[in-house]
């Protein structure tokens, strides 16, 4: 595996982020302060948790456009079920993660068995999920915030907000799964060449469903966290996380075609994007510019990655996209 290359990419991104923060600290008072960096880390955690699952899906060559709605679903359920009860916390969090994971798994089943294009399937599941919570709440989420989950943002573990520590732990765990387990190998292999993976006897469908389930589960988890952070739930709380989740994955050096990229890169991408967003927000330009910037960043990352990919995987000349069949018989 080209672990070295991916790691170098992640390190470069982290370096860019730090340089960015240093530049920011020169821009004006408050920028680059310890409290602001802490705030950036917390906000980046939300992006990272959603991007975690998105990364598994993108690695196998898919895309999950349902994460926004599923995140909202998780937040609304957490608001309704957990509240200030400590016992509800113990069954509530696993139950919500399981439910959102199931929503993801259904997307995975559609993609793996019915061969529905991923973006169509997840868009449909997202619409269904959104409609479901709209109907359940009749438009007004009810419940109460969980003090324990809120304390993840106010407390301090080893000098950092607990949620940041938890996110780092999740990322580390994910990296281990991706790089050091059979499951991880299979995920990369399916992303690189799904056809060959199937013929080599890999459980392609099972892994596909699992990846979408992970994406649903982490989106739900992000919703629970978000509920704690904002001490409430709204019908649109997850909506604005779809875009950053994909942007972080792509900016983090993961090929949208699958099979390449690391979670460390995604973490770096999430941090860079959040820093960037904070800067933009600080400069008080409109929401529109922020979105335009996001779109452009994704596009630039795609073009940069593409040139890299073409260097590594393409024959030097000829009609590049359409001669795969010919090349095989060269």
């Amino acid at each position: 595996m080209k672990i070295g290359r991916d790691d170098a990419q992640a390190l470069t991104l982290f370096a860019i982020t730090i340089a960015f923060m240093l530049v920011m600290s020169r821009v004006g008072p408050g920028f680059g302060s310890a409290s602001q960096i802490e705030a950036i880390l917390v906000l980046a955690s939300f992006v990272m948790v959603v991007a975690f699952g998105q990364h598994f899906v993108v690695l196998i060559g898919g895309l999950d456009l349902a994460v926004g709605s599923v995140m909202t679903l998780g937040g609304i359920l957490a608001f309704a079920w957990i509240g200030d009860s400590a016992t509800a916390l113990w069954w509530g969090v696993p139950a919500i993660v399981a439910i959102t994971g199931l929503v993801g798994a259904i997307s995975g089943i559609g993609v793996a068995f019915a061969r529905i294009p991923p973006f169509v399937m997840t868009l449909a599941m997202g619409t269904i999920a959104a409609s479901a919570f709209l109907g359940i709440t009749q438009g007004v989420p009810r419940g109460s915030a969980s003090p324990f989950i809120s304390s993840l943002f106010t407390g301090s573990w080893i000098g950092l907000p607990p949620v940041v520590v938890l996110t780092i732990a999740l990322t580390a765990l994910g990296s281990i799964v991706q790089r050091m387990t059979a499951l991880g190998r299979r995920v990369y292999a399916i992303g690189i060449n799904p056809n060959a993976a199937f013929l080599a006897g890999l459980p392609v469908r099972r892994v596909t469903i699992l990846c979408y389930a992970v994406s649903g589960a982490t989106a739900g988890l992000a919703g629970i966290l978000m509920m704690g952070y904002s001490s409430g739930a709204t019908l649109t709380m997850g909506q604005s996380y779809l875009l950053p989740s994909i942007a972080a994955v792509v900016v983090g050096g993961t090929s949208i075609a699958g099979g390449r990229g690391s979670l460390a890169g995604v973490a770096a991408g999430a941090l860079l994007l959040t820093t960037f967003t904070t800067l933009v927000t600080g400069l008080a330009v409109g929401e529109g510019w922020r979105i335009v910037a996001y779109g452009s960043v994704i596009l630039i990352a795609l073009l940069l990655l593409r040139s890299d990919v073409s260097r590594w995987f393409k024959p030097p000349s000829g009609i590049q996209t359409s001669t795969a069949r010919l090349d095989a018989g060269a």
């Binding site: 559609g110 019915a114 973006f119 409609s131 292999a189 690189i192 060449n193 060959a196 795609l302």
Partner: protein
Amino acid sequence: MFESPRAATIPRRGARPSEPALEVGGLTKSYGATPALRDFSLDVCAGEVHALVGENGAGKSTLVKILNGIVAPDRGSIAIAGALFEPRSLMDARRAGVATAFQELSLLPNLTVAVNLALPSPGKANEAAAAAVLAEFGATDIRPDAVVRDVSLAQRQRIELIRAMSLRPRLLVLDEPTAALAQPQWLFEAIERIAADGTAVLFITHRLTEVRRLCARATVLRNGTKIGTVDVARTNDEQIFGMMVGSAPARRSDARGSTRAAGARPALSLENLSGSSFSAVTFALHDGEILGIAALEGQGQRELFRVLSGSTPPATGTIRVRGEKARLPSPARAQQSGIGFLPEERKSEGVFPGLDVEANVSLPVVGRLQRFGLIDRRRERRCVLDEARHVDLPERVLTMDIEALSGGSQQKALVARVLLSGARTLILYDPTRGVDVGTKQSIYGIIRRFAAGGRSVLIYSTELSELVELCDRCLVMYHGTIVADVAGEELAENRLIALATGRLDGAARSVPRPRGLPARKPLVRAIGDGTLRALAFYLVLFAILAARDPTVVTIPGMNDLLDNAIPLALAAAGAALVVLTHNFDLSVAGVIALSNVLIATALPEGPAGAVLGLGLALAVGLLVGAANGFLVAYRDLQSVAATFATMIVCSGLALLVLGAPGGTVPRLISDGLTGIAGGFVPVAAIVAAVVLVLWMAVRRTGWGVALYAVGADEAAASLAGVRTRRTKFWAFCAAGTLYGLAGYMLSAVTATGDPNSGNTYLISAYAAVAVGGVSFAGGYGGLLGAMIGAATLSLLQKVLFSIGVVSFYTGIAQGSTIILALLIGALCERALRVRPA
């Protein structure tokens, strides 16, 4: 004695003193570190049929690609009729008078024979002209109006040949033209006729009988190097074989089959196994046996091997593994039954570039190499190293990216993978395709040792000599059935070729055709047609609605329905255009929002405003579409990702133009277009105009045909000379323009601006495409279907509302509809799919 190129070049005997039509000198081409062609030279005269012979992987395909402008040579020169020839594209080659019948066939399965014959300028497609061409070449059994996926493989090969010949080229290149032909006599006569007209023919083959029948001279290629050009009449087969393989053809050693345990249960047995291209195949494979399958291209062997590998289910029949009835629903299960499969296409079906060789080899068993949930790297290395030794792969390559290896080494790694998976029976489909002679020998060694160890091998090869050398026994397949079982003295190449072409006793038996082409009943065809399906769905909904609310049957009622449906119908038509090319366009949401807010903020009242608004909406759409098209067609970005990004950019811009819902749309647009003025229904006129324009563009232009061609099979389309990039680019442009128009009509209907107005259109547009029966796999379906699908969805919303479904739940209905529509479409496809013999 023919080893030196110079010595082997014999002056032409009795050839007409004619112009050289093709002169090639010093041609060299390498793929990375692997040389495909080295300092190759060749000359072919006008009117000559010149044979180019060589084994698989000798460099023949590379020469074909260079002659067609698909690949540029590193060095060397080519002249056609004395003029320097440096083609940059297939069309360059066509213009210079080079026509090629490709081995992989450049026909589009979703288009008719007539259109395929007319490619790449299908605007001129005309069934009468096609029938005349077919008649001229004596192919009256092929109907010009038949869709290519419904005709047999042999017929397809003839169409491919006829298309190349009908171009009346200076140089005709025939790449393995007899592969699927049962009666090559037809071709030989056609070639002789066309050569008599002065066309130079380069006849690429590895069958010497055909060379003897047609050619005076033959050039032999081995491992990318020209071994020599010989006078066919003065050279015997042994000598030519020797030049092709570098030594005299290997003799079979007779000390084989001794390890076979007689009477034991067979390792693998098939009873009356049938698929869509083979039928009633029965045989047994015993331990210690190497069993060959000999067949020409396309006799059903490919599917048979797929079935045995677990990747395709059989239609009927029984497979037994060691006497136990076995179901092989997936390659994984086949592996568990001890069957190891080596697929034919190393690149697309075998290797995982980006992973090192070790990971490539250990992949199927890596789950068993874990300790405490993590892969035990040392154990993995031990296992892989063990198999690497078996296949002569040096240890140092194990940490290299598999992509960096030569074709031969990659193949060895794949063999190591199959061995490591613990197979007791190997299913090998053309295992030496495209590998060098050295690797071939070591693969033979592996196969022999494997069988000698008491395990069994089933092997298909395009090289009959390989089967003769390796196998204990050989089954011959012809037209999907086993026609002969030869062993011992009978197992010789000429005997196999005779049987495989159905010329000996095998053909005397009447060969049962495999499940052929059932004539489709009109009703079945109608259900399979997505447009009609959508229309039926629409009418049912309309009837329900009309029963509850009779006002919809009036003119104003229908006008309302049209008003509601038209923005989505336009968006869906655009999305369908892109889907036809096997791409996706998510920018639909962004473009609609952007044009909507522009119309709501930037326009004066009056006719000028209405016209300006239309221009603005179309321009925005075209611009975004062009950006998408550029990124996807010319920068090779994945369409989902690229258009997702442009959608985001457009949504952001829409927010910048208008921060919150509001603004006003000129009254002429909002009231004038949606109402009814003196019996005239403007929306109906707009719908009619758009449908007419789209119908003309898609059904009556070369671009329209190219859309379907690119969507069905981009590689074949590009071999047929279709400009695939340009086609895709304009598809995105046209789609963007339609989204712009959709935004315009949306503004007319809502009379206000909303930066989020596009959001719901992404899912609805693709739902409409799905309901309208346009295949997401590209190449099948029509824009009208997508538009009817859109009307259906907007009607569904109304019906749901009228029967009292709370609006909160419409999302569930919408999401479920899209999934259901896709499932129904997929099921219809599966039920109606006809796989030609």
